[in-house]
């Protein structure tokens, strides 16, 4: 297959079009705007729907409406936009209709900045909107992986009638890499049997997230939990590197995982038995796999571009079985492989203890670095 040099945002957009996207609704925000711009050019060329909404609030509700018709639909944004979409995301989840959302994460909170960050981990993986629901969250670490995950995201959204997030930190949206795009899929699909399309020759259908009777709402809640358990059983995704004989395990997702891989390779060259575990599905989180590593490894190093948001999931999975060190860069700072290599050295030379708080040591180290 031929490979093209493409910017992450553009590659994700084109991949979505090839995955049979019917409609895109969005609002400009850096570092995701090229995705929207690409859609504005390509979707009309394909005779499909592109609309620049008046806000992220409107965009997600347009997605909601289109999703109710059974259309394959997506939006893309960055953290401040996800905050505005939270309401609509919750309605989509409560109505059990499929939608794909790309979050190209920037520095925050507040207006923050437009540099790459992983600060939205908790927002999408643990929050995403009010009420009881779980979105599926996938985190690529390269442009190619982003392309592959987009295609999969639509299938997962439809299979589980859920929201699927692609969480790409700003660097994946912005960098150019060679990618091979999938063959275009046919767009013509039969509307699913729940879709609202006009009651022509059939009884009416209604789609709602309103269940006034608590028992009825509970039934819906339980259905969502059951569906989620199915996703937990079938959709956990992660990548392992050099783990077979590893004594030390580095953990990181997205760009942090990619940077960590370079550091792991350098450490291996120095004879350190270290490997990398890179979660790809942040939800469902690979708790079991992390737990098994915790039983084997001497120590973990968790690397993130935030203040330890995935760290908390790793701790929950490890259940105190392994000492953990944490290294985070925040505010849009991307760590260099050398920094992570230094951390691997420190992990070996001054191992953390089981009962220490990884954040405390990290904060002390950051303090020393700054002063």
């Amino acid at each position: 297959m031929t490979r093209e040099l493409m910017k992450g945002n553009v590659a994700m957009a084109e991949a979505a079009i090839r995955a049979g996207l019917d409609a895109y609704f969005g609002y400009p925000i850096t570092p995701q705007s090229e995705l929207l711009e690409w859609m504005s050019k390509r979707m009309p060329e394909e005779g499909r729907v592109f609309l620049q909404a008046e806000s992220e609030v409107a965009a997600i509700n347009m997605v909601y409406g289109a999703a109710c018709t059974g259309a394959r639909v997506m939006t893309s944004t960055s953290g401040p936009g996800i905050s505005l979409m939270a309401e609509g995301i919750s309605y989509i989840a409560g109505t059990e209709v499929p939608a794909v959302i790309v979050d190209v994460v920037r520095g925050g909170p507040g207006l923050g900045n437009i540099a790459p960050s992983q600060g939205d981990y908790r927002q999408v993986a643990h929050g995403a909107g009010h009420g009881d629901f779980f979105p599926i969250v996938l985190a690529p670490s390269s442009v190619q992986e982003a392309v592959d995950l987009i295609t999969e995201a639509f299938d997962l959204a439809e299979k589980y009638r859920t929201v699927v997030f692609i969480v790409a930190d700003g660097s994946i949206g912005q960098m150019m890499e060679p990618v091979s795009l999938p063959e275009p899929r046919a767009i013509q699909r039969e509307a699913p049997d729940w879709a609202v399309t006009g009651a022509e020759g059939r009884p009416r259908r209604t789609l709602t997230s309103l269940y006034l009777q608590p028992e009825e709402e509970e039934e819906v809640n339980l259905r969502l939990v059951r569906r989620w358990r199915e996703a937990e059983a079938n959709e956990i995704r992660y990548r392992e590197y050099y783990l077979d004989d590893a004594e030390y395990v580095v953990m990181g997702f997205g760009t942090a995982g990619r940077v960590a891989l370079s550091a792991v390779r350098a450490a291996r060259a120095q004879g350190i038995r270290v490997g990398l575990f890179r979660p790809v599905s942040l939800r469902p989180f690979p708790y079991q796999a992390v737990r098994e590593l915790a039983e084997k490894a001497k120590a973990f190093l968790v690397v993130e571009m935030n203040g330890g948001q995935m760290l908390d999931d790793v701790k929950a999975a490890a259940q105190g079985q392994v000492p953990i060190r944490f290294y985070g860069r925040m505010g849009g700072v991307v760590p260099f492989p050398d920094e992570v290599l230094d951390e691997i050295h420190a992990l070996v030379s001054e191992p953390p203890t089981l009962d220490e708080d990884p954040r405390a040591r990290w904060l002390d180290n950051m303090q020393r670095r700054m002063s």
């Binding site: 609030v57 347009m62 409406g65 309605y91 006009g198 209604t206």
Partner: protein, 263 residues
């Protein structure tokens, strides 16, 4: 005991029946509330235009949150104020269907102000039935953007003080200024004559949509006897005496293609 279904006596003309678009059930609306009248008018118009099987209705958050229960066509339930955005999403992927929103004044003129303005500005081929009852019905009678000056509500207990609580918003006048709008009118549901006029307006609004002319909205002055603390009759009179002077009835924008239309 079984009751035989009523049969149509010979030689008699059927002049009144439940519209096919309307479900045969009681509604949850309070006695004297005009929501039920508005529902029926929409149902009659869609029946007469033969559009029932092509229609997708969008319920708001407000007293009409369950509106989709009362119609026999397809329906969805939007987030508070977001019905025009949801309608946009539906209409854009299904352009040959008839899509309408049904919204209260809190929904449309407060929390959903951005969505309604932009749907109109884009000329979305949707129809909006706007129920202006000058109050938040569902949440217990708080002040709405359409509440009249000095009107007492549960959140303006001394009457709406325009100095601190602002002035009523006239949505029909505002939306008529937007180029994307094809049909924008205000009618009232306070008596039979006005109800007939309202029905005609709803017909023209859907005609605007099926003729691909642009955005259409019918604002309907409505009652909320429960939260106004009035009997149904007093509420109708209050619309006539207090709301109509603040919200003048009339045509604010009618596309030329519709002006010639006889319905």
């Amino acid at each position: 005991m079984t009751v035989a279904a009523p049969t149509k006596p010979k030689n008699l003309k059927l002049v009144y029946q439940r519209p096919e678009s309307l479900v045969d059930s009681a509604t949850h609306y309070c006695p004297g509330c005009t929501h039920g009248i508005a529902h029926r008018l929409v149902a009659e118009v869609l029946d007469e235009m033969g559009l029932r099987e092509k229609t997708i209705g969008i319920a708001p958050v407000g007293c009409a949150v369950l509106a989709y229960e009362y119609f026999t066509f397809d329906g969805v339930e939007a987030a508070h104020g977001r019905a025009p955005a949801m309608a946009t999403g539906i209409k854009r992927v299904l352009p040959d269907r008839v899509v309408f929103t049904y919204q209260g004044d809190g929904d449309l003129a407060s929390i959903g102000m951005a969505e309604i303005m932009h749907a109109a500005a884009r000329g979305e081929r949707i129809t909006v039935i706007f129920i202006n009852n000058a109050i938040y019905g569902m949440t217990g009678g708080q002040m709405a953007p359409t509440t009249l000056p000095h009107q007492v509500t549960t959140s303006s207990p001394r009457g709406r003080d325009v100095a601190t609580q602002g002035y009523p918003i006239r949505m029909a006048e505002i939306l008529a200024n937007l180029d994307g709008a094809a049909y924008i009118v205000r009618r009232s549901l306070h008596d039979a004559t006005n109800i007939r006029k309202a029905k005609k307006a709803i017909r023209l609004a859907f005609e605007a949509q099926v003729r691909d002319l642009g955005f259409s909205m019918v604002e309907l002055l409505s009652t909320c006897p429960t939260n106004w603390g009035m009997s149904p009759v007093e509420a109708m009179e209050w619309v006539r005496d207090n709301m109509v002077p603040t919200y003048p009835l009339g045509d604010y924008k009618v596309a030329p293609e519709l002006q010639k239309l006889r319905v």
